[in-house]
């Protein structure tokens, strides 16, 4: 996709983005709510018309794509229910009928971990189980490309873990997956490659490790000073960084050379017999990168 744009009246939701996916990879599209993720993914799925740019998905422009193209993709929408009156197995059977060469119904029910619930009505499934049914329904046609729009939003941590296991197992099936999420851990856990969208633009793109290591030398040192000691008394060179990282007595220092900085800090504290409670040194993770990159985005308008 090249120079993708989408405007709603005056509002430009997607302001020219370029992306390329290769077969068999899990690609995570990351961004805050309203950043343009769903708009972008729904253009790729053929649900929405774009305002500008070129888009090719499996060799076809989704805006023109027909039923043959839909045979090759699977979609998990951000929000959609299934007929509450059908059972899990019946839902899968119904959708299997739509495809030329569907996967086995029972095998797909098992893949998403719903074998125990196969004969339960959809109405009786928990939120997490319904989401796994969504994934199963998207997989039943044995697609080459799978779109997952915020598949774990609203899950409790254990349901999220289970959903991740299902998605990770799809990697072994050789599927290409386009995943949107606003959970950093989800992208870090699952994705081969990540793009971060903010304010309708891509602000970073690459494998998660690469994104977190672009700031490799910088670590954050965090600790608390005892009562009565101010950050101003710290040795020069250890001044808290400019975003005033002193709050509730907690000091945060971004250190380009963490070994030296830590040495200076502890020497200073030992000399004065000051305890530095909660002292920790941390490498930036994807969340730090994400927060930094999306910090400047104005409050987004939900679509």
């Amino acid at each position: 996709m090249r120079g993708l744009r989408k405007s709603y009246g005056q509002l430009e939701a997607v302001k020219g983005i370029d992306l390329e996916l290769s077969g068999g990879e899990i690609f995570a599209f990351l961004g805050p709510n309203g950043a343009g993720k769903t708009t972008t993914v729904e253009i790729l799925e053929g649900y929405r018309e774009r305002t500008g740019g070129d888009v090719t998905v499996l060799g076809v422009d989704p805006a023109e794509a027909g039923h043959e193209w839909r045979q090759r993709i699977g979609i998990v929408l951000q929000e959609s229910r299934m007929h509450p009156e059908l059972t899990v197995r019946e839902s899968m059977e119904l959708f299997a009928g739509y495809y030329h060469s569907p996967r086995g119904v029972d095998e797909t029910v098992e893949l998403v971990g719903l074998t125990d619930k196969a004969h339960d009505r959809v109405a009786r499934l928990s939120g997490g189980q319904q989401r796994r049914l969504d994934v199963g329904l998207a997989l039943i046609g044995d697609p080459e490309l799978l779109f997952l729009d915020e598949p774990t939003t609203g899950f409790d941590p254990s349901a999220r873990r289970r959903a991740w296991e299902v998605i990770a197992s799809l990697r072994e099936l050789g599927k290409t997956i386009f995943l949107t999420t606003h959970y950093m851990e989800e992208a870090q856990e699952l994705a081969d490659r990540v793009a971060i969208i903010s304010g309708g633009r891509i602000v970073a793109e690459g494998p998660p490790e690469e994104l977190t290591h672009r700031d490799q030398r910088t670590a954050t040192i965090r600790f608390r000073l005892p009562e009565g000691v101010t950050a101003g008394e710290l040795p020069s060179g250890l001044a808290p960084d400019s975003d005033g990282a002193v709050a509730n007595g907690e000091v945060r220092i971004k250190a380009e050379d963490p070994v030296r900085a830590l040495h200076d800090l502890t020497a200073w504290a030992l000399e004065r017999s000051l305890p530095l409670t909660e002292l920790e040194v941390r490498q930036p993770n994807l969340e730090d990168v994400y927060l930094e990159l999306t910090a400047d985005a104005p409050e987004e308008v939900a679509q």
């Binding site: 649900y47 929408l77 229910r81 299934m82 007929h83 009156e85 059908l86 739509y98 009505r121």
Partner: protein
Amino acid sequence: MTGAALALHQFRFDQKTFWRNPASVFFTVAFPVMFLVIFDLVFGNGNRLHLQGVSVGVSTYYVPAIITLAVISATFQNLAMSVTIDREFGILKRGRGTPLPDWVFFAGRIGNSLVVSLVMLVLLAAIGRIAYGVAIPWDRLPAVLVTLAVGAFTFCCLGLALTGFIPSQSAAAPITNIAIFPLYFLSGVFIPESEIPNGVLNVADAFPVRHFFDAFFAAWVSGAGSAGFEWVDLAIVAAWGIAGFLVALRTFKWTPQAA
């Protein structure tokens, strides 16, 4: 699967969905039966009516009247409500992401409404025969079935057309019922038209319910020797159906509309 096999596949699941939904079974199946029994209880008493130049007992009048209501309920009300709810649930949007052709989706739903209409025809005719001794017009069966088919087609199209004007799930039942219930009263379905002022009947003539009822009544009870086809009424009903079809083509929405 071929198109026809796929439509049959879709229809089978639409049937399951319909019969397992307590609300649709109650409003589409139990409601008309209840109306038939209650109206007969209240107005029966062996009274006779003069309708379309025929003298009929009140019980005989209510069988075709309530079948008319049941067909409209199985088509118009059922589709307008269930399709709107499915649209707002995102069920239609999900289906659109699959290779399911649009016409198969509609064929399944319309086929379901048609079969439910036939079930109601048989059920209400049987209750009329057994409980009230109302004859089943075997000799005019072709007219009964053709009239039912034309009415069912029209009220399916109108129900689908209406969904485009229903903004949310919670608006589905009130809008659908406000659109149809007054017409049951004005069109001689709940109250015999001999009890309704002419001015009101003229208003009712502008809408399809009265024409459908008149045609169905003629098919059910018209005098001996008549085949029971009311072609003018059927043509007006069919014209409404075609209009509904054209409106539905332009206004039907597949994605949730409520914010």
